[in-house]
Symmetry: C2
Subunit: 328 residues, 2 copies
């Protein structure tokens, strides 16, 4: 194993100078800096994380505990954050939290054995006051993604309203005037603005808001099915259903199949989240893709003291056949 002293010998400087170069500290002449860098490259030297952590006050580790909301979400955040970390010499340690009751215990162990330099939290962990308190009490920088809790400051999030508005505009463009909405559950604060966007989209298209075709959902397939039945049983059923998440949209799609309705001919269906399953559905589901990976990268950058790149954080409308009539 190559150590810092090997590099120092080869470069003809002291250990300390090598350390300064590695940590980008000032007070090193450019010529010396280069000599050290080429010695590092020649020997393939990599600083030992454990030693750096023990000697200094940084661990070069970011903790990422998660409780499984959805595999795709977890890995997308992981991908974004881990890449951002890697580019800066950091490592991301993910730790599954099976039961929310164990969260504090597990995170406590993570903090005290690994001494991470920061933490990234996603829902539902990002919404648990005890967990937030614990991390702040440990003095660790924390970035919470998409979880907002009364009295706990701002979380990193993107506003869903505008893209929801765009979805309604898209449906209106396809000729729909009766556009139903399946609402998110009340406790889900992030998603609440999807309803605001729906309303904004209606008024932009000059369509009157009709409370009769707005029903409550619970973000699961069953509630989507129930909502779709309610809507399609109306004397004057909607010609388009915009569900506030994909699971409910897939539920609505299932009801349409059961009733032998043509999608999008008889009823167009749109969702929100772009689950992997949505691309496989028949017909493939029009939905909204969140920039999840970019969110993860952004969270990591904030922790590492960089300015986040807000421009990358934009939703994307994914138009598929569940709203696009083949003739269009």
């Amino acid at each position: 194993m190559v150590t810092i002293t090997d590099v120092a010998h080869r470069a003809g400087v002291s250990m300390k100078t090598v350390s300064r170069v590695l940590n980008n500290e000032a007070h090193v002449r450019p010529a010396v800096r280069e000599k050290v860098q080429s010695a590092v490259a020649a020997l393939g030297y990599r600083p030992n994380l454990a030693a750096r952590q023990l000697a200094g006050h940084k661990s070069f580790i970011i903790g990422y505990p998660f409780n499984n909301p959805s595999a795709a979400y977890v890995t997308d955040i992981l991908l974004g954050a881990a890449r951002a970390c890697r580019d800066r010499g950091y490592h991301l340690v993910s730790e599954p939290v099976d039961l929310l009751e164990n969260a504090v215990e597990i995170i406590d162990r993570l903090i005290s054995t690994l001494r991470p330099d920061g933490m990234i939290l996603i829902p539902p962990l990002a919404e648990i006051p005890a967990v937030i308190d614990q991390i702040e009490k440990a003095g660790l920088p924390l970035v919470r993604i998409a979880g907002s809790v009364e009295g706990y400051g701002e979380a990193l999030r993107i506003d869903d309203a505008d893209i929801a508005r765009q979805m309604v505009a898209h449906l209106a463009e396809q000729g729909h005037r009766r556009i139903a909405f399946i609402r998110p559950p009340a406790h889900h604060s992030q998603a609440a603005s999807r309803f605001d966007g729906y309303c904004a989209g209606l008024s932009a298209a000059g369509i009157a808001f009709d409370p009769g075709i707005v029903v409550d959902g619970a973000f699961d397939v069953e509630s989507g099915m129930a909502a779709a039945r309610t809507l399609l049983d109306l004397p004057e059923p909607p010609t388009a259903i915009f569900a506030s998440n994909d699971q409910m949209a897939l539920g609505a799609l299932r009801v349409a199949h059961q009733r032998k309705l043509d999608v999008p001919g008889d009823v167009a269906i749109a969702g929100f989240d772009d689950l992997p399953a949505s691309a496989f559905a028949w017909p493939p589901l029009t939905t909204v893709r969140q920039p999840i990976e970019a969110l993860g990268a952004c969270a990591a950058r904030i922790l590492l003291g960089e300015a986040p790149d807000d421009a990358a954080l934009t939703h994307q409308l994914i138009l598929r056949e569940s709203t696009l009539s083949p003739t269009a």
Copy 2:
């Protein structure tokens, strides 16, 4: 921060004795051991990983680099492995490898900065000789999951043949006699035995093997669609299609929809893998669930020197409506 000396003082023993208790070494009297353990508990002491790693030869870290085959697979392995690690004081560090070309470089960095005690590899990384060589050259214990490469010994895997045989038995039980099979791509060694199981199932049910209803697939939706078209265009089309993975089964399902065929009335469809999308499909897809999480846990146990629990490693037939006629 509580250190080992604090515990030593409180327990009235030397640092070294505390270390012995923590590492479960011999030569400590039960009474002393208990005294130390209660001091640890009272102070909430947790050994500092970095210090342990620097002083000893263990890092208590298992590396898990991955290149995204599917989010669900990656996280299931992660969950199983991370839990097994945690129960034994280890931590799992996952590292995404965006491009396979960078794999060696990224894994090299992981090894030399973190000095993990072992590595877990899943496909496709588990099948790259350069990566395997690299890890073995570093002297790290390695468990490869489900990837087998000529000349590189055995990987951790479960035989798919028996469950494929069961699937055919299930279809035969539903009255099918013409059961088509969409084969896995030739290079995918693990899946090859699915075909063997298919053949075994046929002969067990007393059905003659008909090469005319076995077509090649490429494990993606498009090849599933193509295969289904070929099969359904036959003068005497099959009444059931068993695809060797879910993506191809979903492709077949899509073709059935396009042709307004009733599933499973006109044609039953079954897959293999239990993708999340398969439960959301219409009709929900009959498939095979692999014990992925158990595989991850098993891999970790092997690395940590325990006997793997083979009993937990069994496939599961997931029967859903794509093969179960409502009347049945």
